[in-house]
Symmetry: C2
Subunit: 285 residues, 2 copies
C-alpha cells in the first residue's frame, strides 16, 4: 500500500493506475476509521480495481464552536487498517496541501443544505461539498463511496455531482451498527458510559417508527411524535431535529406514499449524534 502525503505523489500513483486501465474508486474519510468506513472500502474493493482512501480532517466543514481540534486522528491504526484490507493508496495530506492559501471558492447546494443538520451547522455542508469537489478533481475516481449514515451529506454530494456534471458515480453504502443498534461513528468515542447507554434511543426511535410504517401507518406526524417520546426518555442534552423527509429533496413528508427518510440529530453532553433509516412503505416488517 502506498501513502501519498502530497498532491504530486497522489496524482502520479493514480495516473499510473488509470493509464493501466484500472477503474479507480475513492473512499473519502476524516480517518478514525471504524467498521462503517471499512464497509465502504470493501464495497470499493469489490466494485473498482484501484482503491484510494483519503484521510483528511477538513477544517472548512467544522464550525468555530465544533470539534476540529479534538477530532480523533489515530493515523497509525488507520493506515494499518487500510493496509490489512488491501487498499491501494491512502491520500493523507496536510491542511497546507489541500488549502495552500485561503480558499475563495465555495460550492453551495441550495435547499438540501438548508434543512435537517444545515441550520445547526452553518457552513458545514458548503465545506463538505467544496472539499469533495476538490477530492473528485484531485483523484478523478470513476466511483466514490459514501455512507448512508450521513444521508444529508450523501444527498448533497449526489446533487452537486449531477448539477456540476462531475464524471464520478456516487455510491451510497449501508449504515453499519453496533449489536444494540447504535450507528458507528467516530464521534461515539466521545460518549461517556452513561451517554453511550442512553444513545441507543436514536436507533430505538427509528426502529419503532419503521415498524409502525410497515404496520400501515401513513401519517408522519404521530410517527415523529413517537420518535420524540422515545428520544426524550433517554434524557438528551438537546434534540436538533426529528424528521420524516423525502430521501432526495429532504423536504418534510406529511403523508407517506413512497420511500421516506426518518432522520434525527440528538446531543448527549457535548456529543452530537445523527442517525437515519430509509423506509419503503411497500415492505412489510
Amino acid at each position: 500500500m502506498e501513502v501519498a502525503r502530497d498532491i504530486a505523489s497522489l496524482q502520479k500513483a493514480v495516473g499510473e493506475a488509470r493509464a493501466g486501465g484500472l477503474r479507480v474508486g475513492l473512499v473519502p474519510t476524516m480517518g478514525a476509521l471504524h467498521a462503517g468506513h471499512l464497509s465502504l472500502v470493501s464495497e470499493a474493493l469489490r466494485a473498482t480495481e484501484y482503491v484510494v482512501v483519503s484521510i483528511f480532517v477538513n477544517p472548512t466543514q467544522f464550525g468555530p464552536s465544533e470539534d476540529f481540534d479534538a477530532y480523533p486522528r489515530p493515523e497509525e491504526s488507520d493506515l494499518a487498517a487500510c493496509n490489512d484490507v488491501g487498499v491501494d493508496l491512502v491520500f493523507a495530506p496536510s491542511v497546507d496541501q489541500v488549502y495552500p492559501g485561503a480558499i475563495a471558492t465555495t460550492i453551495h447546494v441550495a435547499g438540501l443544505s438548508d434543512t435537517l443538520c444545515g441550520p445547526h451547522r452553518p457552513g458545514h455542508f458548503d465545506g463538505v461539498a467544496t472539499v469533495v469537489a476538490k477530492l473528485f478533481n484531485l483523484v478523478r475516481p470513476d466511483v466514490a463511496f459514501f455512507g448512508r449514515k450521513d444521508a444529508q451529506q450523501l444527498a448533497i454530494i449526489r446533487r452537486m455531482g449531477a448539477d456540476l456534471n462531475f464524471p464520478v458515480a456516487v455510491e451510497g453504502c449501508p449504515t453499519v451498527r453496533e449489536a444494540d443498534g447504535l450507528a458507528l461513528s467516530s464521534r461515539n468515542a466521545y460518549l461517556s458510559t452513561d451517554e453511550r447507554a442512553r444513545a441507543i434511543a436514536l436507533h430505538d426511535a427509528l426502529a419503532a417508527a419503521r415498524d409502525r410504517i410497515r404496520a400501515g401507518t401513513r401519517n408522519a406526524a404521530p410517527l415523529v411524535r413517537e420518535m420524540a417520546s422515545i428520544v426524550q426518555k433517554s434524557r438528551p442534552t438537546a434534540v436538533d431535529y426529528i424528521s420524516a423527509v423525502d430521501p432526495d429533496s429532504l423536504r418534510p413528508i406529511d403523508t407517506i406514499e413512497g420511500p421516506v427518510l426518518l432522520a434525527l440529530a440528538v446531543r448527549y453532553g457535548k456529543t452530537r449524534l445523527i442517525d437515519n433509516v430509509l423506509v419503503d412503505p411497500t415492505e412489510r416488517g
Copy 2:
C-alpha cells in the same frame, strides 16, 4: 467538423480524441463569434490537438433585467466560422441539455466576484463560475482559453480552477480591437452609429492612463480622474466603474508598484461595455 447537440455525443467524440492521446482544448463561448473569439480558437489550435468550441448562451449568468432573450444567436455563421478555421467539435447544446432541471448548486468565488462588475450584475459571476465548472467536467479539456477582455471573469475562473483543483490549465488571451481601439464584443452590435463613435472613449481613457504610467505616474487617483474625464466627454448613459486594481486580487491599488489592471464599465443607451488594459510600470512607452 462535428457538431454535438447533446452531452452523450460530446463525450463520445471527446472521449475518442482523448483515447487517441490528443490534448484537448476548450474555447467556451456564448456564440456571436467575432475575431476576438477566433483568436482564442487560433491559440487553442496552436496549443492543443483537438479543439472544442462550446456555443451556449448561459441563462444563469444573465440578470432578470439583462439581455438574455435579445443576446444574438447567429448559429449558422458561427458554425461556418468554426469550420473554416479548423475547429474539431462544436458543442451547441440546448438549455435543457445543460440544465435538465432546476440547478441547486452554485459556485461562488468570494472577493473577486464582489468588486468591479460584481455589484452591477448580481449573480452573474456565480452563473459564470458554475457553468464553466460544468463545461470543465463535461469536456475535461487539458487547456481552456478565455479572453483577457473579460479580465474579472478570467481572474475568477483561474481562482475557481485552482481552489477546486480542476485539472485544466486556464489560458488568458489578448483582447482583439477594432482599428480605432474599441474592444471587440458581441454586444457592440447593439450600439447605434452615434453610440459606436462615442464608445471609443473606453479605449482612449485606458490608453491615456497607460501612457501616464509608462511616463512615470505611480499615484492611481489622478489616473482614475483622468480616465473619468475622458469617458465623461463621450456623454455616457452611466459609468458603472473606472478602477485601477491588482490583476490577481482585483483590489484597488493606490500606488502603482507592479502590474496594474485598469478597468472600466460604461453604458451607452442600453448597452453596457467593459474594457481593460494590464500595465506593467517597468515597461516604458
